[in-house]
């Protein structure tokens, strides 16, 4: 065996380094930035992103905090699809100074998702991701967790609800059928509108009543279909 000098050029080395570099963004420490809550002239803006965040640089068993400040009463929704290897909890806390906070809501596992949905008054808050998995899993290169985060002011949520009603076609049905979807979708998507279709359950962190995950499931459409050999077809479904 003989050692050979590497023949890689600086360009090739850069290309290889780009391939190794993790593309995921770091989990933010604050949402008070233009990407998230900070709008024009410092006003609060709404946001809604679903993204994979890098966590391999975080310390094991040291909860990561994402701080944010609400200038107006707002509704917040955070969904964390269950990770294949990593286990973590989502906890939403309201801050009362540097050393005092109150837990507003702890995420419940809900059909393979952990979700926080809350209406919050103006004030300072932080979201805590508490990892309970083995450190070796957390620190795998480019280990990520997926989070869907949305914040909207209550006033905008009300406006949006009104806009949704106005935007729904007058004759929009409350249900769709699969045969209609198969036949009509090539010329454009179909719209369904249902007033007050979804409710919510009030819970307090750590206190009964505890809600069974399955009680929260709401089915909008379930229809059977059969594919024959001659069809030789796949599906493209968009929501």
């Amino acid at each position: 065996m003989s050692a050979r000098r590497s023949t890689s050029t600086p360009e090739l080395a850069q290309k290889q380094a780009d391939g190794l570099r993790c593309q995921a963004v770091d989990l933010p420490s604050s949402l008070n930035t233009h990407r998230y809550l900070l709008g024009l002239n410092g006003a609060q803006k709404d946001f809604h992103f679903r993204e994979s965040y890098r966590v391999d640089h975080l310390w094991h068993n040291q909860a990561h905090k994402v701080a944010f400040k609400l200038q107006e009463p707002s509704v917040i929704r955070i969904v964390a699809p269950v990770h294949r290897h990593l286990e973590f909890e989502l906890v939403l806390n309201q801050d009362f100074g540097p050393y005092s906070h109150k837990t507003v809501l702890t995420a419940k596992k809900e059909d393979y998702h952990s979700t926080i949905f809350a209406q919050l008054a103006a004030g300072e808050y932080h979201l805590k991701l508490a990892f309970v998995s083995d450190a070796a899993l957390l620190q795998l290169p480019c280990q990520t967790v997926q989070l869907e985060m949305a914040v909207m002011t209550v006033s905008n949520a009300k406006l949006r609800a009104e806009a949704m009603k106005a935007a729904a076609p007058q004759n929009a049905p409350e249900t769709l059928t699969l045969s209609r979807l198969f036949l009509s979708s090539p010329s454009g998507p179909l719209t369904l509108y249902k007033h007050a279709a979804l409710g919510w359950r009030h819970v307090e962190p750590g206190l009964p009543p505890y809600v069974d995950q399955r009680e929260l499931y709401v089915e909008i459409l379930r229809e059977g279909f059969e594919v024959s050999e001659e069809d030789d077809a796949g599906l493209d479904i968009e929501l």
């Binding site: 509704v75 198969f182 359950r201 809600v211």
Partner: protein, 199 residues
Amino acid sequence: MLSGVNVAISNVATGQVLEDERRDSSGRLVVGRLVPGAYELIVYTHESLTNMDPEHGVAIHAFDLLLTMSVRLLREETLGGTSGSARAAVPVELLDYSQSAYGGGQPHVKETDNATPLVIPAEELKCFKEYLPLPESLDSRAQFGPLDLSETFYVPTTSYYSHEISFTARPGQDALRIFIAKANSKVALLEASSRTLLA
């Protein structure tokens, strides 16, 4: 924005479930070819667990559901294959399971029609599954206020390609920022009717 709807298909014989890939406000499920057999399509969501207490005069009482959905049959077109067979319509039979028609036996075919399949070249299918095609219009995304979109799109070409995305500015929408990351592309902003180059 504040709720999520998911779609899944389940193979009745094997119990295998294929779930959609969720994005900011949308979900997508692409299957290149379905193994012949019976399936169920399920669209579902969840009620929320929340700190909102109905006794304290909360602003939101229930959520309306506005869902735009398409289910297109898809065929993969292989290079050198006969494009005619891929583009041939897929017959859709609507079966009648009502008691009078069914009566415990085989369901009756109530109606037959043809669905036009979406034909995707085999080389593009992987991109089509993982990324969104560039949209034709931003109007549906901007109808509820500010547009804040961050997404990876695919362009189905290896050579020169030009794509136009239309949008109608609404009152209050008076500024626009577009950032393209890691692409050898150019962006131009044109006024739709006069084709005047604005930026």
